[in-house]
Symmetry: C2
DNA sequence: ATGAAAGCGCTAACAT
DNA sequence: ATGTTAGCGCTTTCAT
């Protein structure tokens, strides 16, 4: 791979002139520019990002941290981030952390080392301490999951309210025994959604029964299947289920198969996220729709502002309840 | 962010010595090492990958190109790549190309510019010309989709054979009218799977009817829904459908809803890929299982060998037919 | 065992 | 309009 030096020699000019041509500086004569451009072509030269970044302390690369690409929830968010980034001449790199702090650390280092200009983290288990530390001197935005009372700017929705509304919808349909399939409450969103669930029940004087609250380890389908099977083994079975993620709700739907129960007649189900698959199930899934694309766009814009040195404020976006077959009893 | 110079000053040694400590060189006295390590801690110093990479022409970063993260097919492959990479002290960066050549080009440049040491491409629409050119001087491996007769090493399965076996399974169940939901035949795998489909039909003297071969634009669920609706509008409806991707097959399953037809009694369906969803549908989906994790591991190993300068040979892995409810008529 | 200095590829300030 | 040169942060050769 040729370097700028060789191009300069071939064109019979200085490296500075080559650099000027590369950066479209005005002060180069057409004749010289042509010579340089020819040399570039002949040598098949491409400028080294490494040298350039080292010099400029800028990479125009953004990092996007996500726990796992297997959850379709992230797909649309990433589209939003990607489109916004590209519109601003940035590129994004997706980093799957598996919620592993060590792996996270590697990516944090890429930021510290100027290999990327900023980071959007969607990892709920991110090491708060390290992240806050990083955010002190580097552009960081949290997306979806965030740090309550923390100093890092975030974009998210009101999970408590969304859960409250979802459960209220179930209550209005006449359900009095409503179960919750929650994920691990170490996640903020899990605590918030539980809180919304309880607020709705309390408001209608319905009992909050621990046996109707199931906690899953992960958000995979299989966790939802498992959760539903447990609920169906109870003496007093719920007549409705609110799952904090579509993947869990879809698993729950599967878990009902073979039990003889009918959704929604015997059991109503609501999910959360409105992933594309939630419209493919049979019955289709009622769910809370997060504005995922917009969330991505917003996060990317916030990050780019932050890179420019501007102050950014956290944002809470609106959600919607999408009513489909699984609650049309 | 402190640099090596400041660490050296603080520790009262030269930058060379700091570098030695950083790289665990043997020839540093314990006393000096301690001084340096203290300085590093006090200054919160982290070595710059940029400076290091520029000097070493090595980044220990691998690029993984994929058209879209929305297809769950890639999930397990990426796990395989990631684990293998980490076991060899490499990190991976996921690059979503949206099958956009311009975007691809950006990532190719990262390779040329030594920002990453090699690339695994899973993008079927990748620009063959540019890729082959890149592969002449940089480590490149193709995964899943490949270039027939090309010079770039690949890891894949025998799509023709898999399709042949899938269709034969349908024939053995007594089906004589078998439709194909294919993707765009600009993709090699699409041509291969069609070829396997036709081979099976011919072998049993069944007619190949153009109206039973539907081509979709993308691999989204919705494309499968659409395809199935078209097939159900035909005067002579098929009794079985082979879809070249699980996402399409799942969409097809959805497209049948409301038609009054029963799967598998009236219509058998086979998909391809064995994505995790395929076991969540109702009925569960018969499908061809690609060894995705192994594919990822193999691709990563090949790439790492290639980076080391070793010659690598292309690999064709085995597949399996997973029989589930959608063909248990 | 340690230090001085060159150089990886590039940009920009300064000089002409 | 173009050239000279310093320097971004690091590693490594060559001295000592």
């Amino acid at each position: 791979m040729a370097n700028i030096q060789q191009v300069a020699e071939k064109a019979g000019v200085s490296v500075a002139t080559v650099s000027r041509v590369l950066n479209h500086a005005a002060s180069v004569s057409t004749k010289t520019r042509l010579k340089v451009e020819n040399a570039i072509k002949e040598l098949n030269y491409e400028p080294s990002m490494l040298g350039r970044n080292l010099r400029n302390s800028e990479s125009r690369l953004l990092l996007v941290l996500l726990p796992s690409i297997s959850n379709p929830f992230y797909t649309e968010i990433i589209n939003g981030i990607q489109n916004t980034a590209i519109a601003n001449s940035y590129n994004i790199l997706l980093c799957e952390t598996d919620s592993n702090p060590q792996r996270e650390n590697i990516y944090f280092n890429m930021i510290k080392n100027k290999l990327a200009d900023g980071v959007i983290s969607m990892d709920p288990t991110v090491n708060r301490q390290k992240l806050t530390e990083l955010a002190e001197s580097h552009p960081v935005i949290l997306c979806s999951e965030y740090d309550e009372g923390g100093s890092v700017p975030f974009v998210t929705i009101d999970s408590e309210l969304a859960a409250y509304q979802a459960v209220k919808h179930l209550i209005r349909l006449g359900n009095k025994k409503i179960a919750l399939i929650n994920s691990d409450e170490k996640f903020l969103y899990a605590r918030q959604r539980r809180s919304g669930y309880e607020r709705a029940l309390k408001e209608f004087d319905l009992p909050i029964r621990e046996e109707w609250i199931y906690h899953t380890r992960d958000l995979e389908f299989q966790n939802g299947v498992q959760a539903m099977r447990m609920l169906l083994e109870l003496e007093e079975k719920p007549t409705a289920v609110f799952a904090v993620s579509d993947t869990l709700a879809i698993g729950a739907l599967k878990g009902i198969n073979g039990s003889g129960l009918h959704v929604p007649n015997d059991l109503a189900i609501i999910g959360f996220d409105n992933i594309s698959f939630s419209n493919m199930t049979n019955p289709t899934l009622t769910t809370v729709s997060q504005p995922m694309y917009k969330m991505g766009v917003t996060a990317a814009n916030m990050l780019i502002m932050s890179i420019k040195g501007e102050q950014v404020e956290s944002v809470v976006l609106d959600h919607d309840l999408i009513i489909r077959e699984s609650t049309m009893g």
